[in-house]
């Protein structure tokens, strides 16, 4: 049984005031996510990612097609007991504290008071909300609300977690904490379905990914398979003479001086042997030969470009530099 299954899921919205016309936000989405997978749902702005998540949460109703979670119709009460959901840029009640909000949500699942308190304290600790948990939510920054949003999505120890842009609005520390949290969920065997613009994060935590463009799923599969194609090699050499730089470097795709007396040459997949020989013959020393893999961002841009004829536009966040994941 799939953790999440959609078959021909389609959503049309009516747009325009006087002259109503139909806009297809999601077109025949057929998808299956197995239990224990971390599925990254990627796509440019307006691709239909949030629409899909809302359909799975039954915040909107499909025009056609079906959506199932844990073998039951999406949106049924039984299913909602077993899933968690973080909406995009979540907003909560101004006049409640973070603690009260989580206790309220925990109460809706029918937990006993002591259990509620234990869950809430643990979750707020995990998302990095300290003493400010007793402050009204109207005083919270966007990043803090995002953390509370993640905590409330996990209040029932869900089997399947849906996260809509979970890294949005977070600083690097917050992003690392949330990434760790998702990796923890993966280790616990829970299914995570999340949409993201931040492809570096998606790459580090997804086992599977799907790319949605203009409402259509254009690519889906395992992330390691998506990134399997070799882009070439990076040859690092020391003591490369001026003459050799001219002769050998001219044949490389790119040559960069990376330190005093050291150069990195980016070379085509089939030319590594010849380059190594030529460098040694010129008197240079080989320091390293590293395979170059495509990043998820490169894969994403290629898929979007193939589909639309122009380059997709991941948010600036996707190019943000930050510490590598601790996993």
């Amino acid at each position: 049984m799939s953790a999440i299954r959609t078959d021909g899921l389609t959503k049309d919205f009516s747009v325009g005031f006087w002259r109503k016309r139909t806009h297809r936000a999601l077109d025949q989405l057929t998808l299956s996510v197995e239990p224990g997978e971390v599925f990254g749902f990627l796509g440019p702005n307006g691709a239909g990612k949030t629409t899909t998540l809302k359909l799975l949460m039954q915040l909107i109703f499909p025009t056609s097609g079906v959506a199932e979670i844990l073998g039951r119709p999406a949106g049924s009460i039984d299913v909602r007991r077993r899933v968690g959901y973080l909406p995009e840029t979540p907003y909560f009640y101004d006049n409640l504290t973070a603690e009260e909000l989580l206790l309220y949500f925990a109460k809706l699942f029918g937990y006993a008071p002591a259990d509620r308190r234990r869950r809430v304290d643990r979750l707020l600790d995990e998302v990095g909300i300290g003493p400010e948990r007793r402050q009204m939510l109207r005083r919270f920054s966007k990043g803090m609300l995002q953390r509370v949003g993640v905590a409330q999505a996990l209040v029932n120890d869900p089997e399947v977690v849906f996260l809509d842009e979970p890294m949005s609005g977070l600083d690097p520390i917050g992003r690392r904490q949330i990434r760790e949290l998702i990796l923890d969920l993966r280790r616990q065997g829970r299914t995570v379905f999340f949409s993201s613009h931040i492809l570096a994060d998606a790459e580090s935590i997804c086992s599977q990914a799907g790319v949605l463009v203009a409402g259509r799923l254009v690519s889906v599969g395992r992330v390691d398979e998506m990134l399997a194609f070799e882009r070439g090699w990076e040859l690092v050499v020391a003591d490369l003479s001026e003459a050799a730089q001219q002769a050998i470097g001219g044949r490389a795709r790119r040559i960069t001086q990376i330190a005093l007396g050291r150069h990195a040459l980016e070379i085509a997949p089939t030319e590594s042997d010849q380059f190594v020989r030529d460098c040694i013959e010129s008197g240079a020393h080989i320091v390293a030969l590293n395979p170059l893999h495509a990043t998820l961002e490169e894969f994403f841009l290629r898929v979007v470009q193939d589909e639309t004829g122009h380059e997709g536009a991941p948010s600036d966040d996707s190019r943000a530099t930050e510490p590598p994941p601790a996993s």
Partner: protein, 280 residues
């Protein structure tokens, strides 16, 4: 009813109760509510000063102003908090997280409504207490001879009948606000609710519209509006209680039944609309 069905109903009502308590907790911390209640209480207390400026009519003035202030500020509370029940939740998207929990849309609507009615009840209690306190002080300050000249005692319990009908009317207005907020924006909900409140107080005129127009079609339309729109005039018994006229229990029961039936119809319509709504 089987044991499992009873258990299911109880669990369902528990969820409604949790939502209602949350609404109450949120609402009583709302600054708008504080301001309204404080202003209403100040106005009720100020009615004592206004009463002093009249000759022999002071107790009636205080009663009249107190009841009117309670009704007016109750209306503001019902409208401003009532529209926030759904439209603000949708606009601010706080509803997304809640409806992803094991809460049906029916439970959400009923819980929201019950929570606001609870908030209204508490606030009305505060205003009623202020009203009786002012009248109590006044009664205590006057001589027994002077008090003997009043049509009814200053702290006449019959005023509770007027307060009760104000409360039922506000329950109805809250249901109207909730109904509009299930499919329009907060601002439009407020405008429509206040508009309906005003129309509701002149609704009785529509009944005999044929007496002032020649067109049978216009008269029929007016008659249709009369039955469809809420008739709020019967909830206003302020003049009767202030002048110590009796308000029969039968009248109270019938008016309350009308209010409750109207609330039921509005809640049903709200649930039907809300259950099919897309949150874009």
């Amino acid at each position: 009813m089987t044991a499992s069905a009873t258990g299911g109903l109880m669990a369902s009502l528990r969820v409604v109760g949790h939502v209602a308590v949350h609404v109450f907790k949120e609402s009583v911390r709302d600054r708008i509510l504080y301001n309204l209640v404080i202003f209403a209480v100040v106005l009720i207390i100020a009615s004592y000063l206004m009463g002093q400026m009249t000759a022999g009519q002071d107790v009636k003035i205080i009663k009249d102003l107190g009841l009117a202030a309670t009704s007016l500020f109750g209306l503001f509370i019902a409208v401003f908090l009532g529209i926030g029940l759904v439209s603000k939740e949708v606009q601010r998207r706080s509803i997304y997280s809640l409806l992803a929990k094991p809460v049906t849309r029916l439970q959400f609507v009923l819980g929201k409504y019950a929570g606001l009615v609870l908030t209204l009840a508490v606030n009305l209690a505060v205003m009623i207490a202020a009203h009786y306190a002012v009248l109590g002080v006044m009664s205590w300050m006057e001589s027994p001879e002077f008090r003997a000249g009043w049509e009814a005692p200053a702290t006449d319990p019959a005023m509770l009948k007027a307060f009760f009908l104000i409360f039922v009317q506000l329950m109805l207005i809250t249901a109207v606000a909730l109904f509009f907020s299930t499919f329009t924006s907060a601002a439009l909900s407020a405008a429509l609710t206040i508009g309906l409140y005003v129309v509701g107080h002149f609704n009785a005129d529509l009944r005999n519209f044929e007496a002032v127009v020649d067109s049978p079609a216009a008269a029929a339309l007016a008659r249709g509006f009369y039955y469809a729109l809420p008739n709020l005039a019967p909830f206003d018994v302020k003049t009767a209680v202030v002048h110590a006229q009796p308000v029969p229990w039968g009248y109270m029961a019938l008016t309350t039944a009308y209010g409750v039936a109207y609330v039921g119809a509005l809640l049903l319509a709200s649930i039907v609309i809300f259950s099919r709504r897309d949150f874009k």
